[in-house]
């Protein structure tokens, strides 16, 4: 394992408080000692290491920013970012598990839930006694979530849900799903959030198989067929597409840190390989074309670190805007993906085997570049910000 500071070219370490560095180091050690020894097998088998979930909870990695009164760690967004970075240095699937639980399940319950919902679910989710998932995307509605066809209809003092959600991380291992559906209110459709427990009748899940990416992560489809839930399962303060988008802003923020972790893992591997692999008369790191690739990788990592760090401080100061998150998610994931591809190239044939982490991160980042707002969609969001003109429709 290369030294951490080798990838901290602009000394971003100095921006961090003693406590932030400590949390980062704890997450780093957890990944090195407990996760990395098993990731190769998980990715080969296509399984998520469920046995590590209690450890994630014990260390306080689920609900990092959730107040302590609800069982969270009550820490800053920079801390959450640093944990995301270290988890994704392990694998995007590990980071996604924590992202979904924290940003897409605990955050909406904390933000849109009733006091009873918060008191019941948040401590359980923090302790991993309950696992959650987030159902927004549908088979035919990805980049345009507002077009969703999943519906909730008032019935028997509750709601009847119908529809299908797809590409749901943790879907089939979750105890509760945060499901977004259209509900008719005063003659018009409003997107609302609902909590659906796994035992509800009419709620079925199935895994999406055949993935070549995110193999150490559970991805599912969730089907609701006349699935009845009580009135109390509505997230009362949710209303409109803005609600799920607020959740995604939280998750995308974490992803913009996480991608750096994946890039660092590949960069460290590529530097080590380039220094030791000899071709013709000397290490391949001595050749200009290989050096140019390594320079691009370190430069992109350094830029991404500065974006993520600054975004984190803005977020903690309550000044972060969603379009700023779009820039960090778009840039950090797409440059991380580019970095993994360059690393793959430097490793030659070895770059395609799972003896090295590179191909696994590369394949994962193909997903990360698409989910939570594709690179193109974030570009259009920023295009609209700059010009005031929407290019979506």
């Amino acid at each position: 394992m290369a030294d951490f500071i080798d990838t901290d070219f602009y000394h971003t370490e100095e921006f961090l408080s003693e406590e932030e560095r400590l949390v980062r180091d704890v997450a780093r050690r957890f990944v090195d000692e407990e996760f990395l020894p098993r990731v190769q097998q998980c990715f080969r088998e296509g399984s998520f290491p469920m046995e590590l979930v209690p450890r994630l909870a014990e260390l306080g990695f689920l609900g990092v920013t959730v107040p302590t009164e609800y069982g969270g760690a009550g820490m800053s967004s920079v801390v959450y970012g640093l944990i995301s970075q270290e988890l994704e240095r392990g694998d995007s699937g590990l980071r996604s598990f924590a992202s979904v639980q924290s940003s897409l399940v605990m955050y909406p319950i904390l933000t849109f839930g009733s006091e009873e919902q918060k008191k019941f679910w948040l401590p359980r989710l923090a302790r991993a006694e309950a696992i959650g998932c987030f159902g927004l995307t549908e088979p035919d509605f990805g980049s345009n979530p507002g077009g969703m066809i999943t519906r909730a209809r008032r019935e028997n003092g509750g709601y009847l849900l119908n529809g299908t959600k797809r590409w749901i991380t943790n879907g089939s291992i979750s105890d509760v799903a945060v499901v977004w559906a259209k509900l008719e209110e005063d003659g018009r459709d409003v997107i609302r959030g609902f909590l659906v427990e796994k035992e509800r009748e009419g709620f079925t899940r199935q895994n999406i198989d055949g993935k070549f990416s995110f193999r150490a992560s559970v991805t599912s489809e969730m089907i609701f067929e006349d699935c009845w839930i009580p009135e109390d399962n509505l997230l009362p303060k949710s209303g409109g597409l803005k609600s799920p988008l607020m959740c995604l802003t939280q998750a995308r923020y974490g992803i913009s840190w996480g991608a750096i972790g994946a890039a660092i893992a590949c960069y460290e591997c590529a530097v080590d390989y380039a220094q030791n692999r000899k071709m013709f008369s000397r290490p391949i790191g001595g050749y200009q074309l290989v050096q140019a690739k390594l320079v691009t990788m370190l430069t992109e990592i350094t830029k991404a670190q500065l974006l993520a760090y600054r975004l984190g401080r803005l977020k903690d100061a309550g000044k972060m805007r969603p379009d700023q998150v779009s820039m960090a998610k778009m840039n950090n994931v797409s440059t991380a993906l580019h970095t993994t591809r360059l690393a793959r190239d430097i490793l030659g044939g070895n770059g395609i085997t799972d003896e090295y982490p590179v191909i696994r991160h590369l394949l994962n980042l193909e997903t990360v570049n698409t989910y939570e707002g594709t690179e193109d969609i974030h570009r259009l969001t920023l295009g609209r910000y700059i010009t005031g003109l929407s290019a979506f429709e």
Binding site: M1, D3, F4, I5, D8, H11, E13, E18, E19, R21, L22, V23, D25, V26, R29, F30, E58, L59, G60, F61, V64, T68, A73, G74, M75, V79
Partner: protein, 251 residues
């Protein structure tokens, strides 16, 4: 039961150490520091003793300038109750460290002092033994197992010695220094880190302790170990034997 645990700030063992060109020390720019790994093991043992008894206090002590609070805070986040920082900006040899610690022990009155067997920076392996001598306390070094008696008045310590294990016992108070296999230290958790914010780090000036800190050792120079040369692959056993005989001259 009160347990005092010593904590030294040392360069991370995973850090690449570079010796200054004039040999006066190591380059400290961009070096990450951690709790000396053997001290971390000592702390883990202290925490386990406290958890087993369901009562007691684990007190950390470190000597150095204010940057050492980072390691003390880490120890507090792991679960220690409070910490003492002995402020001192001069380099200390093992005897000076032991003399300062003896003053702290007199002041705190712990039943047990748990220390790392050595610090991984200078590898002196002396402070524990010297502290025992200064206090006139029994000591067990290189501990791989510590068992407290039911009445909490004595300990049995298994030590890793050449050729095997030795078990010794003594009445408390006493000093134990930890070896690598004593336990696997826990990580600080986020809740632990939050709790550590409110824990006390008491600052004491070394100069006020009336301990003799005059140096008895001087470091003349440091030099990096010679670079290891790459190995050779041989095709046959005969070739290997030939090289061992002619080149390495070991057979």
């Amino acid at each position: 039961m009160k347990v005092l645990v010593t904590v030294k700030r040392v360069p991370d063992p995973e850090t690449t150490i570079r010796v200054k060109s004039d040999g006066s020390g190591i380059e400290t720019d961009n070096i990450k520091y951690v709790i000396n790994p053997f001290d971390e093991i000592a702390l883990e043992e202290a925490l386990r003793i406290k958890e087993k008894l369901g009562a007691g206090e684990v007190v950390l002590v470190s000597i150095g300038d204010s940057v050492v609070t980072e390691q003390l805070r880490t120890g507090l986040a792991m679960g220690a109750d409070r910490a003492i920082l002995v402020g001192c900006d001069q380099d200390l040899d093992s005897l000076a460290v032991a003399r300062i610690l003896a003053k702290i022990v007199e002041d705190e009155g712990p039943q047990l002092v748990l220390m790392g067997k050595q610090a991984i920076d200078d590898d002196a392996n002396q402070a524990g033994q010297m502290l025992a001598a200064l206090l006139g306390w029994p000591q067990a070094t290189f501990a791989s197992e510590v068992v407290l008696s039911d009445d909490q008045q004595a300990v049995k310590v298994t030590r890793e010695v050449d050729g095997g294990l030795e078990t010794i016992g003594f009445a408390l108070p006493g000093i134990i220094t930890s070896d690598l296999r004593l336990n696997e230290p826990r990580y600080a958790s986020l809740p632990g880190i939050m709790k550590a914010r409110k824990k006390e780090i008491k600052e004491v000036a070394a100069a006020d302790l009336d301990a003799d800190m005059s140096p008895r050792l001087t470091i003349n120079s440091l030099e990096p170990p010679t670079q290891k040369e790459a190995g050779k692959k041989v095709e046959t056993v005969e070739e290997l034997i030939g090289l061992l005989h002619d080149e390495a001259k070991v057979i």
